[in-house]
Structures are given as C-alpha cells and as structure tokens.
Subunit: 276 residues, 2 copies
C-alpha cells in the first residue's frame, strides 16, 4: 500500500519511521516546510517527499497535524484524495473533529475513520520522532459510521507497527475518557510546577515529583487547542478532582486521622482492584 503521512512532527515522523521499520508499505511524507520532508527522505524515514498533489497516490492518508489544521488541510486539498482512499487523523480530541471530517469525506468521496495513537513524549518535532514510539501503546479508533472493512485496514496497520491494543470507541466516550487519562494529568502537571517551591526541588525530590511534573514540559499551543475542544469533559474532571482533593484537605485541616486514612485507603483500593 501507499501510505501518505501529512505533518512530520513527532507523531507523523514516528508513523513514517515505524512503517519503514516494520512494514513494506511505501511511505509518502508531506510537510508544510519541505525541508523537514527532505530530511526525512535523507534519513530513510520516507520513500517519497511529496506535496499535497501526491495525496492522489495514497491508499491510506494519516493526518498528523493540530486538530483544526487537519480539517483545513483536507478542505484545501480534498480534490487530490482518491475516492477509494481511507483518511484518518491522529488528534487527541474526537467530538469536535469527526463531524467536520465526515462532511468533507461526503463532499470529496473518500472514507474517514477517526483514530488516536495514545503515545507521545515531552518533546516535539521530527527530530523527536522514533520508530518505537507506538510499541505496546493503545490505538483508539472512532469509526463514525465508516465501513468495517476500512476500520479493519487501520487496525491491521496499527498492529503491524507495534501498537499493543486496538480499541473501537465513539467520539463521546473517547473525549470523556481522554479528559481523565490524558488532559487532567497535563493540567495537574502545569499547576503543580507553578508552586513557588518547584524551582528549589533539587535534592529534595524523587520519583513522585518526577512523575507528576513530567508532562508540564508541554506544547502550550497544541494543548490549549485540545483542552478548549474538550471543554465540558475536562471541566467535569477538574471539578471531580477538586471535590476529592478538598475532602483530603478538610481531613488534614481537621486533623481527622480516621477520615484521612479512609480517603487514602479508597485510592489504594482503586489501584488494587485494577491490579496496578
């Protein structure tokens, strides 16, 4: 198959490298700045450094840009996409994106299947990409009415490049769960490191500082867009978190050891029940 990757940042670049490492598919790399596609070509991460017109050669197109940029890109270049092509994205939000992409799919005749590779790093850009980025990770698919055949093509590709789990879901469930598993930890990390204590942590810290603060090394522009496109689920998780930290705060303030131990024990039991 010919696979076109549009947007050669960390995710797009990792898709290129993974397809080149693990499969025999032909990889067409497309990037706004052609220098990056050229670099990818020189490094052997892609077979062809293409432009939007080369979308016409692709059986599968993976859009690895910011959410709204995916929509804009297809709106501008949809005429190059074949009607038998499968188009997917890599965006971290789905409710705001999928209906727009479905509309464009109907307009231009291609098949759209939403997807979200649950992988990343605290670094950006092609230079941070790697063939192993998806090893063992979850690949979330929101079919949004696409034929099962197209969904299966994507699921098979995901397994070929090392994803550990393929999960079929709806945009609504996706966004609600991602608010908890991914967006909330990013909010917490940023809020955490804004404490005046943070710059002095060295020598006083260990694994728990490192783990909570890790993703504060954030791409602010991307995550602002992701948060605002998932406003209600994220706000609900933030309210829920506040209820729970407030309960612990109150128990500490009241020096109520029994209530405090009970709250911590509830947390412990959740992890135990999950076998973590």
């Amino acid at each position: 198959m010919n696979i076109a990757i549009a947007g050669l940042g960390i995710i797009g670049g990792s898709y290129c490298k993974a397809f080149k490492s693990y499969t025999k598919h032909t990889v067409i790399g497309i990037n706004r700045s052609p220098a990056v596609a050229q670099q990818a070509l020189e490094e052997g991460a892609i077979d062809i450094a293409g432009t939007a017109e080369d979308l016409s050669r692709a059986d599968v197109i993976i859009l690895c840009m910011y959410p709204q940029a995916c929509v804009d890109f297809v709106r501008e270049n949809g005429q190059y996409i074949r009607s038998d092509a499968i188009v997917t994205d890599a965006a971290g939000i789905k409710r705001a994106l999928c209906p727009q992409m479905k509309e464009l799919a109907a307009q231009f005749g291609f098949t759209f299947v939403g997807s979200h590779p649950m992988a990343g790093k605290e670094k950006n850009g092609f230079e941070a990409s790697e063939a192993e980025l998806f090893a063992g990770a979850s690949f979330l698919i929101t079919p949004c009415g696409a034929p099962e055949e197209a969904v299966n093509v994507l699921a098979k590709l995901a397994r070929e490049i090392g994803f550990g789990t393929v999960k079929i879901t709806t945009p609504e469930e996706h966004d609600r769960m991602i608010a908890f598993t991914s967006q909330l930890p990013h909010v917490l990390a940023c809020a955490y490191v804004l404490s005046p204590s943070c710059p002095n942590h060295n020598g006083f810290s260990a694994g728990s500082y490192r783990d909570v603060s890790r993703v504060a090394n954030i791409n602010a522009r991307l995550w602002s867009e992701l948060f605002l496109e998932n406003r209600e689920p994220l706000l609900e998780e933030l309210r829920e978190l506040h209820r729970n930290t407030k309960a612990i705060y109150d128990a500490v303030e009241a020096s109520d050891k029994e209530a405090l131990a009970d709250l911590l024990e509830r947390g412990h039991r959740v992890k135990q029940a999950l076998g973590e």
Copy 2:
C-alpha cells in the same frame, strides 16, 4: 562498624541488604515480629537477628519505623543504646520528630542525627526491600545540632550504599520541601484515582495516567500520619495547587485560549529552566 537496623520493612530491609551488598559492616536486624528478622538472617540480609538488648552492640542505629513508633521505641529501649552511638531515623517528616529525639538523646546520652532516604516503592514490607533501592537517590540529613563528626559518619555510610546526593537541611526546610515534592503528589494520586472514570481507563490510557496515579497505591496508615505531622506546609501546597488549577479551570471555562496558553507556557518554562 556494627549497624543496627530497627524495623525491617521496605526501608529497613533495603538498608540491611545495601549494607550487606556494598560494605563490610556488621548488620544487626531488629524487628517487632522476630519471624521477619529470622527470614532476613536466612536470606543473608543481616548478620545477626537481634532484639532491643542488642542495640548495646551498635555503633550506628537506624530506626526504620513509623515516625511516632521511632520515638516510642527509643523511649522504651534507650537504656540499651551506648553513649558513643549515633542514632538516626528514616522518617518522612522532621519537625515533629527531631525535638523529641533530641530530648531522648540528652536523656540517654547518645547522638541523634535526623535523616530521610528519598526512596520508596508502591509496595511494603521486607519482601519488597532491595539492595538497589537507594541507588542515585537523595539522602537528606537534619543535624539538629549534632557534632559535624556524627553527620559525616552518616553521610559517608549513605554514599557507601549508593545514594547519589547527600543534602544537609533543617527540619523546617525539609518539611516544607517534602510537602511539595512528595506529600502533594501522594494526595493528587489518591484524589485522581477517585474519579468515576478511573476504573474504565484501560485501553484509553498511556504514560500520563500511569505516572500521576502510580503512588495512589499508598500505605494509608503511614501516609495519614505523615500528612498530619506536616499539616501546615501540606495545606499551603494544596491551596497553591488549587489556585493554579482554578486559573486553568477558569481559562477553559471562558474559552480564553490566550490566558490558557499563557498558563501552560508558564508551566513549560519552569521545567525548561530546571533543564527537565
């Protein structure tokens, strides 16, 4: 030297195994339940399975029990401690502990130096202990007026068993910093996993879920005691965190992309400035 470790849980057990692996010191293990000391002896983690009376043979005594239990243990068994012995603890709070230990040191004639090995796991008990637990970790010392000589003995021992950093501090600075680097992440982890979304995270989660939730697998009894013995610094960090999550909440609620990106960017810059 003869080193007595009192309390063979994960920390005490790891001290035993580390001293046996990396040094030629004689290790005396003392535990409330003698079966654990017997097991440690059989595994070669200690040289002698002792009782409180064997404290009289020790040049250095490391108390690896819950904070208040350290004080109670010394109050009951101080008569066995030699006046040339150095006694230290391993507790995660210092302001509440050090004055009591100083008093006991004056009463029984030994030298007390507070210390806190910044290492741990989400498991408890001797079976979770390991010789490598302290590799590269910080060893915090609160001398509390002890002679420099005694501080140096402890610092040297810490380096011998693999600690990466030795930091001298005061009980006040220790407790303030630990509220941020260690206690706050434990509160957050427990509050986080109490979300109704948590039991369904599987397949939707990746590194950021794993990292924030890790320490929710908590020893509720121990951490309740640690939190309540460090009430004010912990409450202050919780208020600070709430101010910062509230600012992000407000920006998301108002769909104020500029304010939101600015807050996230501030978090990003803190990590960048720390070179993390």
